[in-house]
Amino acid sequence: MAEEQRVILEYADKIDPKSAADYIKVGGYKGLEKARSMDRKALIDEVKKSGLRGRGGAGFSAGMKWSFVPIKDEVRYVVCNFDEGEPGTYKDRIICEKNAQAVLEGMAICGAAIAAKQGYIYCRGEYPFIVRMLKEAISNAKASGALGDFNIEVRMGAGAYVCGEETALIESIEGHRGEPRFKPPFPGVAGLWAQPTVVNNVETFACLPYILSNGADWFAGIGAAKYPGTKVLTLTGDVENATYFEVPTDYKLRDVVYKLGGGVKGGKKFKAVQVGGTSGAFIPEQNLDTAIDFDSMGAIGAALGSGAVFVMDETRDIVDIVTRISKFFEHESCGKCNPCREGTWRCREIMEKINSGKASQKDIDNLMVLSRVMKNAALCGLGQAAPIPIDSTLEHFGYEYSRKMI
């Protein structure tokens, strides 16, 4: 199997993403119609049965997340996390550019499930042109009557990676500094303006119309059994076809690189691939025959994450790249908790020392202790994931470090 399987992107470039009428012509808004004809509980059960899990990186069951939302208060919110900031990731941009109406429909389906009338799309500040497009797509859908009484507002982020964390994102929509909150309470219980809120990724929402219109069993039958459906991947780095693909989730990483990706650029040899963005693990050649789904990647100590696939050829200096990555986390740490604020700073300091050939084994030992502390004690995913590139390269590419030691 070396083919794409397009569900979300089936009509890419064949329909105008702004036009609800175009989308309806290819079967759009049927899922929402079905969702609205169902009892709330039955709708949530259908989504649970489909096995749909979060496409932003955490892989949490979407139906389960919705089921936590209490219906006793008056107001609830649906929030679409479009803050994709993982370096090498642009799949949410592609999904919106190609099929924005599916995202709007997915949000309205979630609205039907949790009895919410208001949705927000939090789009990263790097995409002002997509913000303009989404606003047009929303007015168009509203005018067509497809969204019914469900309203969607677009808010623009302003260049903070940490706002991809759902509580930091909520803080930002509220007009505050984007610092993560302590959990519990989880957003499902007390989120935006302290009201119950579901936050899902763009791609998660975009799957929903197809689940509703084709049935949960159809979706559950695609790809890996425990992480079913398709996944949009973005290939970057030293690969011939640096572009995006949609594949079933049981697709093998080797095929991503060699079949879809066309292999390593310029006929060079493969050295490593980092999956899931800058916070992902570096994967060596011997682990390439792994399926890309959440659990298979977890089993080799990696993560599917956002679906970014960054390929490095034999000439790449792993330590130099990891040093660059450590600067990223130092820059993006919000500073709220000590383990991350100080930890990312020290990681960068030690990585620079190693990269410039001035470090000893003692520095590596310190780095490993620091990594453990950050993974266990950082408040949010940023600080917990920041040391993963360091750990995974120390494990699989130790010789790259050794040759720079004094």
């Binding site: 994709e84 900031g85 993982e86 370096p87 090498g88 990731t89 642009y90 941009r93 990263r124 500040g125 790097e126 995409y127 002002p128 042109f129 507002e153 808010r155 623009m156 982020g157 302003a158 260049g159 903070a160 990676y161 930002s172 929509i173 509220e174 007009g175 505050h176 500094r177 984007g178 303006w193 973005t234 970057t236 780095g237 030293d238 640096a242 572009t243 995006y244 980092q274 800058t278 970014a308 960054f310 490095m312 790449r316 790249i321 660059r324 990555i325 600067k327 990223f328 820059h331 993006e332 919000c334």
Partner: protein, 148 residues
């Protein structure tokens, strides 16, 4: 020419919309002048210190005066391996400024940025948020020349 109040008033209907107001101000002025920050704090009913805290948290907002063209160079891993470091040196020498500085004529400001989500054609720079792809020395000269 200060129409800060008008710009901010347009965003006032959005709950928690102070960041939207900052974006709108920046769209016109390329930064958030002190007077505009005060006005926004007043309109959204929060202390000035808090408004300043918000404005300085986000890398896309600036409380320092910037040039008419804000050039951002992506330095995340995919651009890094595509030669972002060399391109940055090239840019600094062409503009005669370092990262974080503005040219004496107030035309260009040079900044670094993390990934801007255009990794299909690295290295990438943005000029006033518009992305330019596969940038090399020749393209860079062209891009700068097109900024009038």
């Amino acid at each position: 020419m200060s129409n800060y109040a008008d710009i901010i008033a347009k965003c006032k209907g959005q709950k928690g919309g102070i960041i939207e107001a900052f974006h709108a101000i920046q769209e016109q002025y390329n930064y958030i002048p002190e007077e505009a920050l005060r006005e926004a704090a007043k309109e959204f009913g929060i202390p000035e210190a808090k408004a300043y805290g918000v404005a300085t948290f986000y890398s896309y907002l600036s409380v320092e005066k910037r040039g008419r063209y804000i050039i951002r160079m992506c330095e995340s891993a995919p651009c890094h391996v595509a030669g972002a470091d060399e391109l940055l040196k090239e840019m600094e020498s062409l503009l005669g400024i370092k990262v974080g500085e503005t040219t004496a004529d107030g035309k260009f400001t040079l900044e670094l940025t993390e990934c801007i989500g255009q990794c299909q054609a690295t290295p990438v720079i943005t000029v006033n948020s518009e992305p330019y792809f596969d940038v090399d020395k020749a393209k860079l000269t062209e891009i700068l020349a097109s900024c009038k």
